[in-house]
């Protein structure tokens, strides 16, 4: 039972350069993820972002409306072209009445690997053990609001993936 780290993998049937651009270009990242940032992704950049509606899934976009404009921050760490993109943020920092700045961040890493069938993308998010317990408890409360809808949308996929 690992409480500190999440790891996800997906095979993307697209050229490596295409995938790299989609994760390393702030505007492209924002387009699928559903956010808008105030500057380009460069190592060391401390960026301000807001939640926007994703352009790729109308149903998810609808649920993101609830949080549209909610601010959060991204601290860009490493960028190795076609290989690695990483940043830090405050997980689940969606309660606008809370100042998250003093809390520990988690590290999100996107790792790309070219395979015969496409690009294997691995995402890891780690550092959850450093997040204060009461903060985790608040995340549950926040989740009851709108994220649960989003989770419902993808439950079919999650079931299939297991």
């Amino acid at each position: 039972m690992n409480t500190d780290r999440i790891e996800k993998q997906i095979l993307l049937r697209a050229p490596l350069k295409r995938v790299w651009r989609a994760i390393s270009d702030a505007a492209e990242f924002g387009s699928w993820f559903g956010m808008k940032v105030d500057g380009p992704f460069v190592p060391g950049a401390h960026l301000h972002a807001v939640v926007t509606q994703t352009t790729v899934d109308p149903k998810v976009a609808e649920t993101q409306k609830t949080y549209e404009g909610a601010p959060f921050e991204l601290m860009i760490e490493q960028m190795t072209p076609d290989r690695l993109f990483s940043f830090r943020w405050h997980p689940f920092a969606i309660d606008q009445s809370v100042d998250y700045s003093a809390e520990p961040t988690t590290l999100v890493e996107f790792t790309l690997e070219e395979t015969e069938n496409g690009v294997m993308l691995t995402i890891t998010e780690s550092g959850f053990d450093g997040i204060p317990p009461e903060r985790r408890a608040r995340a549950f409360a926040a989740n009851e609001g709108g994220w649960s809808m989003m989770v419902g949308l993808i439950s079919l996929y999650v079931t299939r993936a297991q």
Binding site: T3, I10, F92, F140, V151
Partner: protein
Amino acid sequence: MLPKGSANLFAALGDDARLRIVSRLCDRGPMSITGLTEGSKITRQAITRHLRVMEGSGLVRGARHGRESVWELDRRRVEEAGRYLDMISKHWDDALLRLRTFVEDRDK
């Protein structure tokens, strides 16, 4: 909403020895302290102490069977602890699907 005291749950789990006890109780079902001590590097006293901490947060419960207490997990509480990471995990599943749509569709 979280039941009262859930924050304690993470504190109770935030320890390697306690995580090991939880995983043994997961694998093998209810066990006595003697059973838990066998093959473990820590003492019976330490295991008892960890069990008490976890009992305090509702993670495990002990029931008397003859001369010994048998300890078991309260699965509902264990599942709650996993829910936080599940939530974040599901967000990434969802985000990855959007990325896939984004890079695969537009490249055709």
